[in-house]
Structure formats: C-alpha cells, structure tokens
Symmetry: C2
Subunit: 444 residues, 2 copies
C-alpha cells in the first residue's frame, strides 16, 4: 500500500479521554474512532489487525473441529424468556422494540439461540459431538464503557458452543477448546495462562479464564513461573486423541487471578518460582452442563433409546479486545510493537527524499520486491519530513522498515530497521531484502 493513497489519520496529540496505553495508541495510530461511548469505527489500519486476529482464531477453531456458522446480532426476546435469563440480564442487555412492538434485543451472547438451533435439527447421539461457533458483533450496554476496545459496548467476539451426550464427552470437548486456546494465543504472540475461574452453581473444574500477562493488566494474577516456559501444542496436535495429559500439565501448576487467589496454595510454590503480575482476560471456557438444554428442552436420544438433555459448554474469545490486549502487552514509548502474526503491515519502505529520481526508483524497486516476496508492504511515498515518517512507522509498529535516502544510496546502501529491537543495519538493497525474507521465514 502506498501511504499517499492510504487513509491513516495519525493524531499528533494524545487524546485526553484515553486512560490506558492501548486506547491512546489506537487513537493516535489512526486505528479507530469513537462514534459513541464504547462504540468504535475501525479505520483501515485497525481493521487489518482485527482481521488478522480473527483469521488466527478461526484457523484454530477449525483445526479443533469446531464448525463455523453465523448467528444474527438481533435476537427475539422469546428465547431469553424461555431460558429464564431475560429478566436476570439487567440493563446490560440492549433491549429493542421493532415496528410491530415485538421485543427484540442486541445479542450479548448466544447460548439461547444456539440451543434453539440445536434442538431444531439434532435428535440423536449419533450427531454428537458437535461444536458450533461464530465470530460476530455483540452488544453489552456497560454502564461506564471505558478503556477503548478493552471494555466497549459493541464488541467482536468468537463464541463456540459444544454439545455432548454426557459429562465425560463434554470434558473431551472442553479439552479440545483448552488446547485450541493455548495455540491461538501463542500464535498471536502472547503468553496466555489458563487460570481456574468461577464455575457457578455447577461447580467442578471445568471453567478457565485465559489471562495474558501485561504490566498494565486489569487484575492481579499469581502463578507458577514454569507456566511461562510450558510448551504449547504444535500444529500436529491430534484433536481426536486424549488431550488430558496436556490439560493436566497446564492445570497442575498454581495459577489464579486475585479473585480466586489462595495464599496458602501459592505459598506452597517454591519461592523462586512464584510470579505475581498483572493480567488481562482474553478468553473464557466454561462447561455448564444442562443449564440451557433443560429449560429449553434440547434433548437427544441415547444408544439405548433414552431421551436426555444435551451437555453444553461455551468458549469465548474477545477478538476486538485482543487488539487492545496485544498492545498493552507489547509497546514502548514510541508506539506499538506488533507480533509478526498480527502486524498490519509486514514491512515498509521509507522514502527520505520523495522526488529524488534515484531514491524514488530504489523505493519502487524494494516495494515491488517486498510484494513479490509475499509481504504485506507499506510504502511511505509522502512528502513528509524524515522525522515524522520515522515516528509514524514506529507508532503504527511496522516490524521491519527499510529506509532509503540519497546519502545511503551514494554508498550503495539502505538502512534496515527492526521495530522491536531498534536494531539498525546499513546494507546493500539485496542484503536487506535477503535478511527480510530470511526473518519472515523464521517467524512463520
């Protein structure tokens, strides 16, 4: 993309309303614009990141055998009356009356609707297990939306719902999502630790929050240091196999948010292995048994002819929230440091003297070579001064920047800069491209 043709409205001043760094950086970097409290437009740069995150979430859901579908944003209230949650949900639910005065709502979550879909089509244990997910906009009418996309009202979420014949099968479904989540967050360049969460009236051990460590995180977290070095299952993990050894390894070590923190248990962790840090919740997985299938009469026939309510779980990832969470976990004073997998552009060419024939020609050549090599490349071909160009590249966090100017070219060199380390190297254009391609191969 040529920057002269792009829409990247960088803000020079730090917006006053933004209380946390991800919110500030997303506004300054021209990633988004607030349209109402907690409601944002995603400008081109922000949308690119959102879509890359969404893509990774989708791939890992599919790999784990979940099937993608898409439920609408507007739901009839009837379903929620049936499950008993319509009155309970309170003011966070955005209630709507349509032109015929039918009670509708903007879905804050989809347990009711997916249960309705399930009971409409599935009758037999032979059709299980089943895991259906969608990635869709949701609305929760927070009383005080804040922190940008970290606590917005309209937000983008992946929610999966598993259906199984009994609790043992449901546990296997739960394990599949557990492993899929480990892989998802690792691919997003983050250390996410599963931590035991409140499992409500059902009790048991099948509710985990996935927490990303970030110094600016919303909650205090306590965990065993070995969790940071725990290997994440590879691409070749077999989701049809017994995944409990993986889950057991991750859950055998102490990890809790301050809400569930147990000082005594933490004290049992060797002192040099204790970590007290801050974290952000980016995912939540939850087995809830027959909580919805019972009142909504979602039953299947067993092998011996009985008719039993199906066992369900739900599995959420806050996709739009992740954009903020990644920035909270990875930034410096100059701006955002994107993990390679979600960077809006892989690499950029910075032209230090637009209009200088040799510089322009070299920039065009490198920009062409980057694209030919499969990079999503940005070319700053504007007539801004060098300092502003450097600042923009660091602010928006382009991982690799090739800076081209007449002085360097006079000695046959361009400068290759790594955003994360700040390392700069003067290289021939050929060497710079070779390095870029080698680094990209290494990262993928």
């Amino acid at each position: 993309m040529r920057l002269s043709r792009y829409f990247l409205p960088i803000l020079k001043e730090t917006p006053k309303e933004a209380e946390i760094v991800s919110h500030r950086l997303m506004l300054r970097a021209g990633m988004m614009r607030q349209q109402a409290a907690g409601i944002y437009s995603w400008l081109p740069l922000g949308l690119k990141v959102l879509r890359k995150i969404e893509g990774i979430v989708r791939e890992e859901q599919n790999r784990a055998g979940a099937l993608e579908m898409l439920m609408p944003t507007v739901q009839p209230a009837d379903l929620w009356i049936e499950s008993g949650r319509y009155d309970d949900y309170g003011k966070e639910m955005l209630r709507i009356s349509d032109r015929h005065d039918r009670s509708m709502l903007y879905g804050p979550t989809n347990e009711e609707m997916i249960t309705e879909i399930f009971r409409s089509y599935v009758r037999s244990f032979r059709d299980l297990p089943l895991n259906l997910y969608h990635i869709q906009w949701k609305f929760r009418d927070e009383v005080r939306p804040r922190f940008g996309v970290m606590r917005g009202r309209e937000f983008f979420m992946k929610d999966a719902y598993s259906f199984d014949l009994d609790k043992e099968s449901a546990r296997r479904a739960y394990h599949r999502m557990f492993v899929a989540y480990l892989r998802t967050f690792a691919r997003l360049g983050m250390q996410a630790i599963p931590m035991k969460a409140d499992s409500g009236p059902i009790g048991g051990d099948m509710s985990h929050e996935f927490i990303v460590l970030a110094s600016t995180g919303e909650s205090g977290v306590f965990c065993h240091k070995d969790l940071l070095d725990m290997p994440v299952p590879g691409e070749d993990v077999d989701f049809d196999s017994d995944l409990s050894p993986i889950v057991d390894a991750w859950t055998s070590l102490y990890a809790a948010t301050d809400e569930k923190h147990d000082e005594a248990a933490f004290a049992a962790v060797p002192e040099d292995r204790r970590i007290a840090a801050r974290g952000i919740e980016v995912g939540h997985i939850f087995y809830f048994g027959t909580k919805y299938s019972d009142p909504m009469n979602a039953k299947v026939t067993t092998a011996d002819g009985q008719n039993v309510p199906v066992h369900m779980g739900s599995y959420g990832i806050g996709v739009s929230r992740l954009v903020g969470a990644i920035i909270e976990a990875s930034h410096d004073d100059n701006g955002i440091i994107w993990p390679a997998s979600v960077a809006p552009f892989d690499a950029a060419v910075v032209n230090l003297k637009q209009g200088d024939a040799a510089t322009d020609a070299m920039c065009e050549r490198l920009y062409g070579e980057m694209r030919a090599a499969g990079f999503d490349a940005l070319y700053d071909d504007t007539d801004q001064r060098a300092g502003a160009k450097f600042a923009t590249m660091d602010l928006i966090g382009v991982p690799w920047q090739v800076v081209v100017g007449p002085k360097g070219l006079a000695s046959g060199e361009v400068e290759l800069k790594n955003r994360a380390t700040g390392e700069r190297a003067s290289l021939t254009p050929e060497a710079a491209m070779n390095r870029l391609v080698a680094e990209a191969r290494g990262a993928s």
Copy 2:
C-alpha cells in the same frame, strides 16, 4: 470436510413459508435458519457461500483503490438529526434507546457516519480522492420481510463512499466503481446489467442499478441484447486510467427496469436485439454531490485556498441478498447450481458403500488428493443410502462429484459427475482427478 462431522441439516420437506425458489432451497439445503421475521442464522454451508461472495466483493473493491474499514452497527441518532434524515427515514429505521436513554439506531446505511469520519480527519484537496468502504450488517425494519435473504431485515451489505473535490473527479470515482461492479458480478458467475436509475433531486446520469437477469426476478427489465455479450474488463484494467470508454460502451445501449422503461426508446432498438426479461437488483451506485457534506459541513481546502463541500457518492452491493440472487439465477429441479467461484465446496467424494474396505480406501485416497490439489472438498462418509447421497449433493450444488462404489471399483473405475450439465463419466480414479484439476484450472 467429512460429512459425518459436518452440520448440514437437510430438510426433506419444502418449507411452506418460502414463496420463492432461493428461499426454499436455502432452507432445504441447510444453509440458514430463520430466527425472527427477516432475521436469519447462517448455518455452516450458507456461511461458506456468503464468505466467498464477500471475498470477491472485497478483492474488487481493493483493486479499484477503495480502502476497507468497518463502522459499527449501532449509531448515535445525533448524526441523522444533523443530516436531516432522522425524521424522514420513518419506521424502517430500528430506533434504540440505551440504558442512559440516549437515542441510538441500528444503521440502515452509513452516509452520515462516514461523512462525520471524513470531516474529522480530512482537510485538504491533497488527501483526495478517497473511497472508504465497509462490509457490515445493516438493519431495515421492513414492514413485511419476505423472500428469505432477498428482503431480510438484518442483511449484509458492502457500502463504499467516495470523496472528491469536484463533480469531474467524482465522475472518475463513479467510473471506478462502475467497472469494479462489472468485474465483481462477472466473477460471481452472473450477468449483471447496469441500468439507469432514479438519481433523485440532483439529476444527471450518475445513478445505476446493477440487475441480474433471472426468470424469477422481482422486476421486469428491458435491454439491448448486445449487453449480454459485452466484454467485462479484465484483471489488468488500469483504475488510474480514463475508464469512460468502458462506461460509455455499457451505457450507450438501452437498458431499463420497468420503473424507468421508455417504450419509444426501446422501440428504437432493432427488434431482434430487444430483450424483455426479469431481473434482481444486486447493486446500486449513486453520485449525490454535496447532499450530506453541505448540512454536515464536510469541507476541504482547494489548491487556491477556498473551502468547499466535498462531492460524494455511495456504492452498495447486497452481499447476503446475492446468495439468494445467485440461486434464483442458477438452479434446477434438483437444487442449486453454484458458479464455481462461490460453491461452498469445489468437489465431493460420495462413498456408496461405507464400511466396504476397498471403497473406503479409494474414497480416502481421492479425498486426500482433492485436498492436496487445493480443492475445498466434501467427503460423504455417512451410512445413508445412495439415493439420498446423490440428492443431497445435487441439492447443495457441489459442482463436481466423484462417486465411488464396489461395482465400479471392480472394473477399476469411479464416476465423475458434473452438477451443472448432469454429465457423468466412468473413469479410472487417476483420470477423474486429472479431469477435475484441469477443469478447476480452466474455471479460475
């Protein structure tokens, strides 16, 4: 995808509420489920088609230089009060009060919001031309939603908005979208004819509807037969060049919906070149000048220092509606006939005797080869009877079906079936795969 693990709830009976063929077939093929009047869930098969259409629409918008962003579904009412449309819009607008009693609405379209975004960031003619688009869910509270996704309430739409310094530049922006639309619909396997549409109070010649010919179409259309053979610009069309020769060629021949039909002008078309048919509107492009920039004060500075309201156009494609439109244009008594570019699966393997070792092994082999060749492949590995399997494949419209059974295998052959032509050929497995690969290369 193995059908035994997929969620494809085929309906045996034709749903009574469905008045038109696309609605009937989408319900029968398990593509979608109605959740409320005019509000649908997209089941896995339907979502695949929707995403493929969305992908083609996106590629062609990007090729034409439009920039993707994403506006929220919920909008503040203020913007619409400012433009003067809040009261005009009537009951089709889904109005919402949030918990603080602020007036919001579910966006039926986005002229106001995009104008607000534009005026917040863009000040100078140097930043023009600009075309921003998004593909997002919209809501129009139709008094009587019907015809499935053809006239739903919650629908998926691509809407682009162009910003230019003056009418001449706006015309160039209009031409770029005109050409992008020709390419988009052609890639979707449809003959879409641009037809002059009502341009409202602004007048002029810059408003066209794109109409797909389909015998079950909603409106009568009249056009010159040569339009059906008019070449669509190729991938190499230069969107920076003067596109008016292309636009002039397409608009020089008679084409009108019954609303704008002019009997006298049609009579001037040579008799053997006259077509009277039926059609479905799938896109609409529209130049509206300063209709929103004037009241909303969206101005730019010209080269000579004047401050002028920006000239705008909007360009819509009904993405969810297209799923229905394609089916209306392409089906037979057995089901849907997808154009290759949007088929939910490229090819399928049908196992006629699940459990027979040789048949299972050959099916696995072919299914593996299809995937290795890059096909999005479906494998019917269920234990349904052959007739039901054939019916399902034709109903959901898999373009190429490889049928494998013990009888054929005894003589070393499988059957390759083409869904569109009904042609069947007995071939060795190798020849069937070669044919498939060759056909796929030809189609792309």
